[in-house]
């Protein structure tokens, strides 16, 4: 079923709420996904990403609100949705005691299709693990497992793909390859909804939603989100990074301060603070080799900024 070109939204989600015994996991989630785009749901562990995916793939009933996938309601039309959706859970969920080929064949058969029929769709991915097709799935490496899982999620030619943290726990090379595959799938008209805790993957999506504590803080293109960041942002480095973060937070005019790898990122009120004042303040506290630079915000800065609001 190809719906690209039609005006049905791939996903429409309105005010979806879900709680696990009074602990809210999703609060009033509303968003739409267009046909053929890569939509990223980005947020830390425990933000509610998997719960959202499970609601959209008809595995979990929402407490309130409505959701539809490819125009079909997740409650009433769950049977139809299951035929058209590919889902790759965050955890490797294939049969470890069956071989690579057997796993693929099972899922092809359950969707009333064959490996041959849709081979063109998985060729790029599957050809990499095909040399190991008689190996049991449990004996594959992490990256190969993900490739097999993606092949199994694609074998019935779904019109929309839900990938829950596909890059968690795999090496940087496999991560890069996986994103390349997603771009290729997009070019074949498949809508992709992907979640990730890695902020650096945000720029690879067409649009992203930043999620925290079960709430979407912002939905926009990666560029749109970055351009929405209007604060003055500096990166600060010094010889004693761990002491520096505490001292930075004490300085008047420093609004927020977070550790970002080998830098500390601070947002400042530039009406009362200049780089020179900050440098002298830090030198008073005994810091040296201080480097202060004005930088462009990244997605992570935006996330922190939104989360802090």
């Amino acid at each position: 079923m190809t719906l690209s070109g039609s005006n049905i939204k791939a996903v429409v989600c309105t005010d979806v709420c879900k709680s696990y015994e009074k602990v809210p996991a999703l609060r009033n989630i509303s968003f739409t996904v267009e046909q053929g785009e890569i939509f990223g749901v980005i947020g830390p562990d425990g933000a509610g990403k998997s719960t959202l995916f499970r609601v959209l793939t008809t595995l979990l009933l929402a407490d309130s609100g409505t959701a539809s996938v490819e125009g079909m309601n997740v409650v009433k039309g769950y049977k139809e949705i299951r035929k058209n959706v590919g889902y790759m859970p965050g955890r490797f969920s294939l049969y470890q005691d069956l071989t690579v080929e057997e796993n693929l064949k099972i899922f092809a058969t359950l969707f009333h299709t064959t490996i041959e029929e849709n081979y063109y769709l998985i060729k790029d991915i599957y050809s990499q693990i095909e040399p190991f097709k008689t190996r049991r799935a449990g004996a594959l490496s992490g990256g190969m497992k993900q490739k097999l899982a993606l092949s199994c999620a694609l074998i019935h030619k779904p019109s929309i793909l839900f990938l829950d943290e596909p890059t968690t726990g795999i090496d940087p090379v496999s991560r890069k390859e996986l994103w390349e595959m997603l771009r290729k799938l997009k070019s074949q008209g498949i809508t992709i909804v992907v979640s990730t805790p890695y902020m650096d993957e945000a720029s690879l999506c067409d649009r992203i939603a930043l999620i925290r504590d079960g709430e979407f803080m912002k939905i926009d293109t990666p560029k749109g989100i970055i351009s929405g960041f209007r604060k003055e942002l500096w990166a600060v480095r010094g010889s004693n990074m761990s002491a520096l973060i505490g001292h930075l937070r004490e300085v008047d005019g420093v609004v927020t301060c977070f550790a970002f790898g080998d830098n500390h990122h601070i947002t400042v009120d530039n009406t009362i603070l200049t780089k020179e004042i900050l440098r002298s303040r830090l030198e008073e506290k005994g810091h040296n080799e201080i480097i202060i630079e004005k930088i462009e915000a990244g997605i992570e800065d935006c996330f922190m900024e939104l989360a802090n609001r």
Binding site: T57, T58, L59, K79, R82, K83, V85, Y87, P89, R91, F92, S93, L94, Y95, Q96, D97, L98, E102, I106, F107, T109, L110, F111, H112, C152
Partner: protein, 370 residues
């Protein structure tokens, strides 16, 4: 669809390292080994003898006791304290003390007493052993009395003899009684335990989630879990029949068709019970523990090892809730008594009730959890 799912189940089953072997070993263990160890007939009771009389009669009595097959003379002492010592050392289970002047009293007073003292730390051995011994001694005194009667006046008094007949199990073989019931236990383990553990395993591995997003019908999915174990269950039951035939010459008096029919009904009921467990358990550990709890209760309450009539009243009521009770009754009756279906309508009705109850519960609790 079902065909492919079954193919997958069988592949997984035969690929696992232990399951196929266990399934073959289990019926042999159950039918060949268990009846030998789970035997309540007491043999080889160690007997300490204190013969204070050393007369013909006392020798005859000891001879009779030791040739009965139940006792082994482990100790011959001169005094009771010495014999007691051998009980304390765990060398003897029962003491038989024959008093001095045993023969003289028998002849003079027409009666004499002997002392039986039993170590009751092992209740069955002490209790059964001393009653066997009492029986043998009673027999002995009857024999002597009848000798006197024939010697003196054969018309003076009437006497009677009891000769029991054991119907359906003429040689009172414990194995004949146990084997049909043990077959049920094997069936319960295979068809109740395994599918439930399999489903919980899929839950724990997350594979059930991947299955749930496919258009596979839930009913078909569950059927694909049950069917292989039903088939395996019947194969194993058949192995049990063959083993019982070859090693014990035990052939059902009734028809095999009746047994298979009831086995099918029981398997349906018990796998329904397994499904209920699988709906409430999220990990294999939980499922295992719940299964053990209920299956042990069911087995102990079923009359497999101890007759239900021996249980306290409240336990007899409870035993009505064990599906194993009914199928064990059926198997024993068909195997030993040759009962036909028309005589087993009550167990049939009850087992059907269990099947509806457990499977209905399984369906309802499954809906709730998803």
């Amino acid at each position: 669809m079902l065909k492919y799912l079954l193919e997958k189940e069988f592949k997984q089953f035969f690929r696992s390292s232990s399951l196929p072997r266990m399934v073959i070993i289990m019926p042999f263990m159950a039918v060949l080994i268990f009846p030998l160890v789970a035997n309540f007939e007491i043999k080889n009771i160690n007997l300490a003898v204190v013969d204070n009389d050393k007369s013909t009669y006392s020798q005859q009595l000891i001879q009779k006791v030791s040739s009965s097959g139940y006792f082994r003379i482990s100790d011959v002492s001169d005094s009771y304290p010495q014999a007691l010592r051998s009980v304390e050392l765990n060398k003897s289970d029962i003491i038989l003390e024959i008093p001095p002047h045993f023969e003289r009293d028998m002849a003079k007073e027409k009666s004499a007493t002997v002392l039986i003292a039993a170590n009751s730390v092992s209740g069955t051995k002490g209790g059964l052993g001393s009653s066997y011994l009492a029986g043998i001694i009673g027999d002995f005194s009857n024999n002597i009395r009848s000798e006197w009667i024939t010697a003196s006046d054969r018309f003076s008094s009437g006497r009677f003899e009891i000769s029991p007949q054991f119907w359906y199990n003429p040689r009172l073989l414990y194995t004949y009684f146990m084997v049909p019931a043990l077959m049920v236990m094997v069936l319960a383990m295979l068809c109740g335990f395994l599918p439930a553990l399999n489903i919980v395993g899929e839950k724990a591995n997350g594979t059930i989630e991947q299955m749930n997003v496919t258009p596979v019908n839930k009913f078909i999915f569950i059927l694909s879990k049950l069917l292989p174990y039903w088939i395996i269950g019947f194969v194993v039951l058949t192995i049990c029949f063959i083993v019982a035939r070859i090693f014990y010459g035990l052939v059902p008096e009734g028809s095999l068709a009746t047994i298979y029919l009831f086995a099918a009904l029981f398997v349906l009921a018990f796998s329904g019970f397994g499904l209920v467990i699988s709906n409430y358990a999220n990990t294999l550990q939980q499922a295992m523990f719940m299964m053990f709890f209920f299956v042990l209760t069911f087995i102990l309450m079923s009359g497999l090892y101890t007759p239900i009539a021996n249980m306290p009243q409240w336990a007899q009521y409870l035993s009505n809730f064990s599906p194993l009770k009914y199928i064990i009754i059926v198997l024993r009756q068909v195997y030993l008594k040759g009962s036909s279906f028309s005589e087993l309508l009550l167990p049939f009705a009850v087992l059907s009730g269990f099947a509806v109850f457990f499977n209905g519960w399984a369906v309802l609790s499954y809906r709730k959890s998803s």
